[in-house]
Amino acid sequence: MKQTNGADLAPDRPERARQGAKGERTRQRIKEAFADLLGGKSFTSVTIADICRTSDITVGGFYFHFPSQEALLDEVMAEYLGGLVGDFEAAVDRTSAGLAEAVCGAFLKAYSERVGLARTFQQLTRMRADYAIRWRLASEGAMARLAMRLERARPDLAPERALFLAYALVTMIVSKLDLVYVYRDRSGAQAAASRAALAGELAGLWTRMAASPEPA
């Protein structure tokens, strides 16, 4: 799923073959500079001049590699999404115990290691319908398999409700991480103090929410 998405979003560029390894390194440097800038600024306020200064290339050099800043944003976001969904899928498919820890860990890794990208992606999914759709298409396979695992653990759960629970659990993780890393409000600042504590809190909430109802 993520492979196809990445390919769709980064159309084949014939000149890339000619550019060779050096060109690929420059492209990479531009993307990393952009990702770094997003750590401190909103994507709407980062300019091409900022990107060129940070990655030490000329404006002409930028346009040689990317047709526009929007194209750069698209490619960087597609890679971020691919990485996150890949980790989410791996966590869901892991057969060993500790499903809650694995899935919470996959999202925690994306947010804590790539804060600027995570924040930008969340803003884009809230502001633009096409980004909400990208996330939906990329994650629906993992979501369905998560539902199947939840259903196996809870025979009382109907299939459609297992899917609802899967969405609810992932939404719980994302909403918490948004508070900590994206909005950085008063509750978030405290929790950000320790990544381990945050992992524990998320897994704890997951376990409570996914638990079977107690008998009457």
Binding site: E140, R161, Y167, T171, R208, M209, A211
Partner: protein, 226 residues
């Protein structure tokens, strides 16, 4: 209000009433239009057409579009938090959360365009974030105190920080169901009453670590519970 009535003759009162009616018509027109169109694409002409008033009539009431939206958001926000505050009068925690879930679902379902617009504005304007955060933090701290004393509370109560993030969870889940309308999620969620109950069940489990008494649930026994 009574001062104005005393110092001026009756016609002014009628004019004021008519003015209020026009304002209400303009506000309702905006809420309706937001369900179909993005706020930034809306023109004052669109709003006046929908409200069936002259463009000059708009400017008599509001200096610009943003002032109209601001008034609508603040009024809806006040009504919404009043409804949530009322849920804290219930004795037991499940009733409180069930009614809070109901209030949230209604707010999202009745004015999805307005909720989307509020979220867009909150991305850029800190004032709208504060409007939400202040009221939310206040409500959550009352909720946590309520859980500590409610007859069906007990369990391992959560910190205020965790409780606050769970309100954000409910908010985001309903946003995905009623505003983004993710088809797979919408299909798995069922009807409004099922959403209200299942959200309340998950919310309570996360808050105090226990499911509600199954006898109080309508959908759990039909195999539609979560």
């Amino acid at each position: 209000m009574s001062d104005a009535g005393a110092s001026s003759p009756a016609p002014v009162g009628r004019r004021q009433q008519r003015g209020e009616r026009t304002r209400l018509k303009i506000k309702q027109a905006l809420i309706g239009l937001l369900n179909e169109q993005d706020y930034f694409d809306l023109t004052i002409t669109d709003i006046c057409q929908a409200a069936d008033i002259a463009t000059g009539g708009f400017y008599f009431h509001y200096p610009k579009k943003a002032d109209l939206l601001d008034e609508v958001i603040r009024e809806h926000s006040a009504d919404f938090w009043a409804a949530l505050d009322a849920t804290l009068h219930y004795q037991d925690s499940y009733s409180a959360l069930f009614h809070a879930s109901t209030a949230l679902v209604r707010a999202y379902r009745d004015a999805p365009g307005l909720v989307r617009c509020f979220n867009q504005l909150a991305m850029a304007d800190r004032a709208y974030v504060d409007l939400w955060e202040t009221a939310a933090a206040n409500w959550v701290s009352q909720l946590v105190r309520k859980l500590a004393t409610s007859p069906d509370g007990g369990g391992e109560a959560l910190s205020e920080t965790s409780a606050y993030s769970l309100l954000s969870f409910v908010d985001l889940l309903l946003f995905k169901i009623y505003i983004e309308r993710d088809p797979a999620l919408v299909a798995s969620a069922g009807g409004v009453d099922e959403v209200i109950e299942n959200v309340a069940v998950l919310w309570r489990r996360a808050l105090i670590g226990r499911s509600p008494d199954p006898a109080r649930l309508a959908y759990a026994t039909q195999g539609k519970g979560v």
